[in-house]
């Protein structure tokens, strides 16, 4: 034992010696040379851009809880890149996409990011609010601009976030205004709001509170977690409160439960959901018969939309990915690409395709036209959502993707006056 003790001590000594040797080899340099170079066409570049290619990253989810939606968004991104490259690329360069799958887990994304970051100019799709929260500081440190597939206005305090479309709070405001316009809701009414505690639900709730405040309505809040499955008792409670409409900021499975209870309890009030509340798979679920009361408010048009660009994207998707799930993700992915296209074109005109140049180009854009895949986007005031309009869709089993459009790019006056959490002025 004495020997063993001594062995341990010698090992410690050896270790200490080794680390001292290493430290002795240390030096110190203050500055790294700026690796900015002027490439083809006199355009300044740093990371992710060569003379022939522009590389953008996708941090998506094709194995986690949002894999159906995530795969469709990835496909939308790819369709956009194919279209651009077929038309000759941007700035005489073709678009390349580097795809990684984080499975909707923040720890995984945190590891994958440093591997992806040196290869790319920016991120064309960053999916998931936990992932966004974990990478917030990385994006700022590396000045990487990212288009999120997550629509909370709480993330707009990060200048490197390029929001595409409008945010959950504005979806709810517009949706409630639509219901009132259709005569389904009156001033002074009581509405119920079932929401998942977290970024998604909390942001949706802000919208209904704002709208209710403007119209003398009362909001009955019901907080749930994203893994709850049976909302019957909550809907029963809301019926006791005498609600005349229900707002949902939930998962698709929870939406089905709430709608089934809405029908089974004889409540039958109109139900408004945010974009992620609906999944076409619900039409195959036992709750299929009860979905008729659901209105969905979303930035981008539903899969079955007659908006010309949306119809073209839907057609290309069905050709390129036969048998893949049909949902709104395709349009989301495509429009993310379109906005990037505008930013890249602008940066090319400015002769600066560095990461800093992308930021400059982004905030100089005041009217990005996406052929109505989302409303016109204005990036000149950081902190404010770039657009406030939504599409309203209603469940329709006959339509592809399960919903049919009832209002195109609809912006209520209340949505215009709403002040987002990080909006200035």
């Amino acid at each position: 034992m004495i020997l063993r003790r001594r062995a341990g001590r010698s090992a410690t000594l050896a270790a200490a010696l080794a680390s001292t040797l290493v430290l002795a080899a240390c030096g110190s340099t203050a500055d790294t040379p700026a690796d900015t170079a002027a490439g083809a066409g006199g355009v300044k570049t740093d990371k992710g851009v060569t003379d022939t290619t522009i590389t953008l990253g996708i941090m998506g989810d094709t194995s986690g809880v949002f894999k159906n939606l995530g795969a469709a968004i990835n496909a939308g991104n790819q369709l956009w890149a194919d279209d651009v490259n077929a038309a000759g690329g941007i700035c005489d360069r073709t678009i390349q996409l580097e795809v990684v799958d984080h499975g909707y887990k923040a720890d995984t994304a945190k590891t994958l990011y440093p591997q992806l970051e040196p290869k790319i100019l920016g991120i064309v799709q960053l999916l998931g609010s936990p992932v966004l929260a974990a990478l917030k500081q990385n994006l700022i440190d590396d000045n990487v601009t990212a288009a999120p597939a997550s629509w909370s206005s709480e993330i707009l305090n990060n200048p490197n976030i390029m929001m595409i479309g409008t945010t959950y709070d504005l979806e709810v405001i517009n949706g409630l205004a639509y219901l009132q316009q259709e005569g389904l809701l009156a001033d002074g009414a009581t509405i119920g709001h079932i929401y998942i505690d977290g970024e998604y639900g909390g942001n949706g709730l802000k919208g209904s509170k704002y709208y209710a405040d403007k119209h003398g309505m009362t909001v009955k809040e019901a907080k749930i977690t994203s893994t709850d499955t049976d909302l019957t008792n909550i809907v029963t409670g809301l019926r006791g409160d005498g609600v005349t409409a229900i707002v949902l900021t939930t998962t698709p499975g929870q939406t089905a439960s709430a709608l089934a209870a809405n029908q089974a309890l004889g409540l039958n009030v109109p139900v408004l959901g945010n974009n992620p509340t609906f999944d076409p798979a619900l039409l195959q679920s036992p709750a299929a018969g009860a979905l008729g009361n659901l209105y969905v408010a979303a930035s981008s048009p539903p899969f079955s939309s007659q908006t010309p660009k949306a119809a073209a994207v839907a057609k290309a998707y069905k050709e390129a990915y036969p048998g893949a799930p049909l949902n709104a993700g395709t349009n989301v992915g495509y429009v993310e690409g379109l906005v990037w296209q505008n930013v890249l074109t602008k940066a090319c005109e400015n002769g600066d395709m560095t990461r800093a140049g992308i930021q400059t180009a982004l905030i100089s854009l005041t009217a990005v036209d996406t052929e109505d895949l989302v409303g016109e986007l204005d990036y000149s005031s950081p902190g404010a959502p770039p657009t406030r309009g939504v599409y309203i869709a209603k469940v329709d089993p006959a339509a592809e993707g399960g919903v049919t459009e009832v209002a195109t790019v609809f912006t209520a006056p209340e949505a215009e006056s709403y002040k987002a959490p990080f909006q200035e002025g």
Binding site: A14, A25, S28, P114, T225
Partner: protein
């Protein structure tokens, strides 16, 4: 404590005396051991240079160290003291939040509580707070055992979920969470501050600095745990684990020892929590109990670390952490680097699915064929190196379900 007692520590009273050691074998093994330790330490210290600009691999290595620190804490509790606990993620959460609150800048936001203490003090404070909360749970731990204690400790995970969502002034809420303050040691920040020193041409930036910080924290944890296992504390844990009545008869205060084990294990988890916060640059309570950094999934992952490593073995916990915390991340990086699973666009086999299978299979295989875990495998390898040195018959003791007579307690060389 005399050397004789420490040699026989924890052996059941009826165990035969250790066989006389063959002269000459010992010094040879010492040299091998010293050389192996030096090589390992050199490798770990030089890792940032070896990975160079591939910082992602350094990130995985940091993550493994988090698992190692937490796993060591749990293996002491489950393997050495015989108390099953699934509450580890709760203490991780408490540690992370405590660090953010203690070190947080009071001016940062009106909605967040921050005390503005120096980060080192906050780190120690977070560990102490976790230990105290572990002590508060000790009366429960003292009354229950086995699976009942496991289920009772599970309640803490749910409590953590609820508290994390409710106490937004501390946790930042589930929406955005809060950013933990940068760790600093005597004015040296663990961030990308200029000028950054270089080591063989590799700049020691934030991730490299964090690696060294984690390495030091993990090394301290490891040495403390080994010290505890080898000393009187470890012997009293094992005595209580094997037979409470016998332990009482030998003068061990059972209640106090059980409480002490819980406190120490919680403190390790608290340190792992602080490391998690620094690793993620984020303190954010989970949105539900099944997914997230402090969820039931993490409870199971830590249990898997302990089982794969071998119950009660400190080095085993480190190996277990490498398997459970490292494998998935490593697969993911490889998947992108070399284009594995490129066809898995709409479902199918991908890195996440594969790594879940691998570590699930590892747990099953360990329980079926090697209940002593990685520790037992390591011991066998060492025995092969110097056959005369290790008693051929296993010395009895506790193991994973399946009760293979292997033990991981007394021989820290395993």
């Amino acid at each position: 404590m005399s050397e004789v007692v420490s040699e026989k520590a924890g052996s059941p009273p009826a165990a035969p005396p250790a066989q006389p050691r063959a002269a000459g074998a010992r010094p040879r093994r010492n040299r091998i051991k010293i050389a192996a330790t030096a090589v390992l330490v050199l490798f770990l210290v030089l890792l940032p240079i070896l990975v160079g600009s591939e910082v992602a691999y350094l990130k995985v290595a940091q993550y493994i160290l988090i698992g190692a620190v937490g796993g060591i804490g749990l293996t002491l509790l489950v393997g050495q003291a015989g108390q099953l606990s699934l509450a580890h993620p709760f203490f991780l959460l408490v540690g992370a939040v405590s660090y953010a609150v203690l070190a947080g800048d009071p001016e940062e936001s009106d909605d967040l509580v921050g005390l503005g203490l120096p980060p080192l003090l906050a780190l120690v404070g977070a560990i102490v707070i976790c230990g105290l909360i572990g002590l508060a749970f000790a009366p429960v731990a003292g009354r229950l055992r086995g699976i009942y204690l496991g289920v009772a400790s599970l309640s803490l995970v749910f409590l953590g979920l609820w508290l994390g969502q409710s106490l937004e002034a501390f946790t930042g809420g589930t929406s955005s969470g809060r950013t933990p303050p940068t760790f600093e040691l005597f004015g040296f920040p663990f961030s990308n501050a200029e000028p950054s020193p270089t080591l063989f041409g590799v700049a020691i930036e934030k991730q490299q600095r964090l690696w060294y910080l984690f390495l030091v924290l993990a090394a301290i944890s490891y040495l403390l745990a080994r010290g505890a296992v080898d000393s009187r504390i470890g012997r009293s844990w094992r005595a209580v684990r094997d037979n409470e009545a016998a332990a009482t008869a030998m003068g061990v205060n059972v209640t106090r020892v059980k409480a002490g084990a819980f406190v120490i294990s919680s403190a390790f988890a608290g340190l792992a929590g602080v490391m998690t916060a620094l690793w993620l640059d984020l303190v954010k309570p989970d949105e539900n109990e099944f997914t997230g950094s402090y969820s039931l999934t993490v409870s199971i992952a830590f249990l898997a670390i302990v089982i794969i490593g071998g119950l009660g073995s400190v080095p085993g916990a480190v190996v277990g952490a490498a398997v459970v915390f490292g494998l998935q991340q490593f697969f993911l990086l490889g998947a992108n680097e070399f284009g594995w699973f490129a066809d898995a666009e709409f479902g199918g086999l991908n890195a996440v699915v594969l790594s879940a299978f691998v570590y699930g299979a590892a747990v099953v295989l360990v329980v079926l064929f090697e209940p002593g875990g990685a520790a037992a495998v390591g011991r066998r390898l060492v025995a092969r190196l110097s056959p005369s040195d290790i008693p051929s018959a296993p010395r009895g003791g506790r193991s994973t379900p399946g009760s293979e007579p292997e033990r991981n307690d007394d021989d820290p060389t395993a």
